[in-house]
């Protein structure tokens, strides 16, 4: 028994130590962002605390604008996905019709083909539509989300049909039934979908990089990359770290507060879009 205890105890210690190793890059990032520049990189900061780096990058880079752009994109994408996916999921869960198989083929296609792979043809479509360097252009490939449809459909299927039928008999129309009966029952699935969608679009880089070319549309990730590769940032790691911290902070804080919710969401979504 004591041997078993010793074994599990040493496993605990080992997993904590490994966790600390895993945290090194983040600790270094935060430490460097909030301390004075030093010429040698060290695990832990050895210079005094300062807000200079954060202040400098906030003034040098139009982060305010980038924040606004990113929030508009993330919220806009999610809200539209919310409606399109709910309707499609309800349709697939409730009705049987010819051609349904083909719809599933399209859904699986999107699940196995990550959007980033289709940058070339999608950029051409965007240019045909005149949507280059617009916020709508950044959002549009994601407005029909296979991941969300599938997730919600699975959930809707578990809701007893009688519940919806009862609402219909009481005079509720289709939308009222979905809104009043199905959505409240699938709250957990909606939470997962929200977490996945928001973190994906907050962090997305390649597509916004290609689509945007002005400050009014650029996202935080694109702005950071611009700065990290610019002359002002050359070798100035304290500034690059400060800029990085500014862009990752909201999602990181949300994650640290709701660790369980985040991890469960990634499991239930099964795929990043």
């Amino acid at each position: 028994m004591t041997l078993k205890k010793l074994k599990s105890g040493s496993l605990s210690v080992f997993s904590v130590l490994l966790g600390l190793v895993w945290l090194t890059p983040l600790v270094w990032l935060v430490g460097t962002a909030i301390t004075k520049t030093s010429f040698h990189m060290s695990f832990l900061p050895n210079t005094s605390l300062t807000a200079e780096n954060l202040k400098y990058v906030w003034q040098t880079i139009p982060f305010g604008q980038y924040y606004l752009n990113t929030i508009i994109l993330v919220v806009g994408t999610f809200v539209i996905q919310f409606f399109t996916s709910t309707l499609a999921a309800y349709s697939l869960a409730m009705f049987k019709f010819r051609g349904q198989g083909l719809v599933y083929v399209v859904i699986f296609m999107q699940i196995i083909i990550p959007n980033d792979v289709l940058i070339m043809p999608n950029f051409m479509t965007l240019s045909d539509l005149g949507l280059i360097d617009t916020k709508l252009g950044v959002m549009i490939p994601f407005l029909g989300s296979a991941m969300a449809i599938f997730l919600l459909r699975q959930n809707f299927k578990t809701i007893p049909r009688a519940l919806g039928e009862a609402a219909r008999i009481d005079g509720a129309n289709l939308w009222q039934t979905i809104w009043g009966v199905y959505m409240p029952c699938a709250k957990a699935a909606y939470m997962s979908f929200a977490v996945i969608s928001i973190s994906y679009h907050w962090n997305n880089y390649l597509w916004p990089l290609i689509v945007t070319n002005s400050v009014t549309n650029r996202t935080l990730t694109v702005g950071l990359a611009y700065f990290a590769k610019s002359k002002e940032a050359n070798m100035q790691w304290s500034n690059v770290c400060a800029a990085t911290l500014i862009i990752i902070a909201p999602l990181m804080i949300a994650f640290f507060l709701m660790q369980k919710q985040f991890m469960n969401s990634f499991i239930s979504a099964g795929v990043k879009e």
Binding site: W22, P25, W28, T84, M109, L143, T221, L224
Partner: protein
């Protein structure tokens, strides 16, 4: 009460079903199905910036790729990167999942520590690791100097650049794959393990003969995700190396991006896209042949 025949109602249901599907389906058709077809069509054309329209050339682009040493270099890099990341990150993910598959005081903290890189954008990770790998003053080179190996400047060296990027990637991906293994482990009935332990199977034996076989479907699913994720990544290359030195770190998606958006060669970029689609289909096949469909979204 209105009386409607069953046939009428069925027709109405079908119309409703399609109407509800329409918005999502339209976006998916235009931005998932159509681009696949368009890539295939454009891959058989010569089409560069300045040309008014694509020009049909049949399989010329494919033949050019087959004869291009750069193309084969890129494919080799992509294969090497997959080799150095897929199995290691799966093994690491499973190992971490086994470590955190228990209750305990610090378990939430530990899981958070392993998983947080998945919530960070790849370009933020790349910016940090660029400094870790920086010549002489970077964390890695300072460690190397301390241990007497001298600075390595891993990102500028043809032989070390891909292993260095892979190491960073495994650090990030292991935590992501962990969650799927954890879900798999937690779905294993504890009675089975208990019965086995009564029969004398403990530790490695029980893991090898009970846990591993029961994790089979999870493995299959995770391997698909691991392959897909490692193919779909170009952000780190854009930030850290831009394919340098001498294309030693150019991966397929970065090559697609470079051909399409730097060289403005849409035809070749489409050909590469089709090749990428082939790769993705190949690594997704196990998912369709697997028996237990439930694991996909368990």
């Amino acid at each position: 009460m209105k009386t409607t025949s069953a046939a009428q109602r069925a027709r109405k249901d079908i119309a409703t079903a399609w109407l509800l599907l329409l918005p999502a389906l339209a976006f998916m058709l235009v931005f998932t199905v159509y681009p696949v077809l368009r890539s295939v069509a454009l891959s058989m054309t010569k089409y560069r910036m300045g040309m008014p329209a694509p020009e049909w050339v049949g399989l010329d682009n494919y033949i050019r790729m087959a004869n291009s040493s750069t193309f084969w270099k890129v494919m080799q890099n992509t294969a090497l990167f997959a080799l150095m990341t897929v199995l290691p990150s799966m093994a690491m993910g499973l190992g971490l999942a086994l470590l955190v598959n228990r209750r305990g005081r610090h378990i939430g903290f530990i899981r958070t520590a392993y998983f947080y890189p998945s919530v960070m954008p790849m370009i933020a990770i790349a910016s940090v690791w660029m400094f870790i790998y920086m010549a002489r003053n970077g964390l890695f080179d300072q460690m190397m100097t301390t241990f007497g190996f001298g600075p390595q400047d891993v990102l500028s060296n043809r032989t070390t650049v891909l292993p260095a990027l892979s190491f960073m990637y495994v650090w990030r991906e292991a935590g992501y794959l962990l969650v799927f293994f954890l879900a798999g482990l937690q779905s294993i009935n504890e009675d089975v393990l208990e019965a086995a332990s009564i029969d004398g199977a403990t530790g490695w034996k029980s893991f090898r003969h009970i846990t591993m076989p029961l994790l089979g479907p999870t493995m299959l699913f995770v391997s698909t995700i691991a392959f897909t994720n490692c193919f779909k990544l170009a952000d780190h290359i854009i930030i850290m190396t831009e394919g340098a030195p001498n294309n030693a770190s150019t991966l397929l998606l970065y090559y697609i991006y470079q051909q399409g958006f730097t060289n403005m060669n849409y035809g070749v970029s489409s050909t590469l896209t089709v090749i990428m689609l082939g790769l993705l289909l190949l690594v997704s096949l196990p998912r369709f042949f697997s028996q237990d469909k439930k694991i996909h979204y368990a």
